[in-house]
Amino acid sequence: MNKIFAIAGKELKAYFKSPIAYVVLIITISVFNIFFFLIIDGNREASLRDVFKVMEFLFIFIVPLLTMKTFAEEKSSGTMEFLMTTPTTNTAIVLGKYLGSLIFFTLIIAITLSYYFIIEFFSNPERLETLIGYVGIWLEGAFFIAIGVLASSWTKNQIIAAISSYVILFLLYFSMSFIKYFSGSLETLVRYIGAWSHAENFTVGLISMTDLVYYVSGILICILFTRLSIENRLWH
């Protein structure tokens, strides 16, 4: 457990030592702020429902930038050999890296909590609905990060890692657009795989077991595949 935190801490410090983290943080928060103002001003209602939808969509662009270096950089710089020859399990390495990215992402979400306090100052928003909405977007981000970390484990090139993440995230997010081309059980599967429909329930204050299972199992599967990916690279 200590090693997971040691790796996560190292990842987190690395974020703050690179300009990418600050650029992502500043641009993300600025864009969120603009949409928050536009939505609240346009809707004239004390709800973050539509803000959450925009945030979810923007995660597709932000997450690959956060996760592209997790494994790709270790591979290209040769530090992967260091990590994997220390008495650290592959699971601890993957979990540590995932946790580091997740904490950074949580920080971004935490900053946006100010939106709730702003609307509460002027009105009387639905507290539980907003809280569930936050849980939903956090879970979706956590799932997207797991996908980004997995994509990063496939290559030593950060650009390829980012592009792979973008492709997967776009397909997941817009899978409902392709639903008309499928029928029967395949249609059910595509409907279930689509990330957008699961997140939508949370934004309106609904928690369903199906959505929770979708995100949690998605995260676990990605972590498992990442572990297999770094093992498979070696043990062939």
């Binding site: 090693k3 040691a6 410090k13 690395a14 992967m80 020859t85 008495p87």
Partner: protein, 244 residues
Amino acid sequence: MIVLEHVTKYFGRFQALKDISFEISRGEIVGFLGQNGAGKTTIMRILTSYLPATSGKVIIAGGDVSKNSLAIRKKIGYLPETPPLYSNMAVRDYLRFAAQLKDVPIRQQRVQVDKVLEQCCIEGVQHKTIGTLSKGYKQRVGIAQAIVNDPEVLILDEPTIGLDPVQIIQVRNLIKSLEHKRTVILSTHILSEIQQIAQRVLIIKSGEIIVDETLENLLREHESNLEDIFLELHSASKEKSSYE
């Protein structure tokens, strides 16, 4: 301390190691000699559990590497050919991180880091970012991470590659100072390095060990220096293989 029995390694169809067997006793300093691509790094990567052998057995400190990899990795210090350094980390933070991953008890981590900083003469740069250091300093930081857990076995892959003559002497002296009570395996293609550090030489060519001899015996038998011996053995082995 280290036993390799009939170890082979394939990368796809390419056979990188061909039936390698040798034993290294505790406290021995062994030099792997060979041209680039001979298989030195592959043997080291198998010893450190980074790569699995395709077949054969690798025993380190009584444990089978394929079965007790984690326990064995605790006893090994490894410096790969490219020092595995995080360029944006400070030297001290990096060594602390290495100590954490190498199971150095929390209370001893600070002491161990101080100890290796002193041993490797890098106390003066301990708060500097690794990316800003010279190649010689980076190499020493790489060696410091390898010994931060006080390993029984120290494996150094080309530790002086790319260094200037002064830095080579500094790193060589550092390695010599570490040899006590430790089994050291060192790979290089700089012959004088082996001559000055190692007690025993394994000459590897195309994945095979063509010589396994103490340095003293080797020099006595051939009555010449290591460079001549290496060239002689290499050309003899080449003739033999072309004849076959």
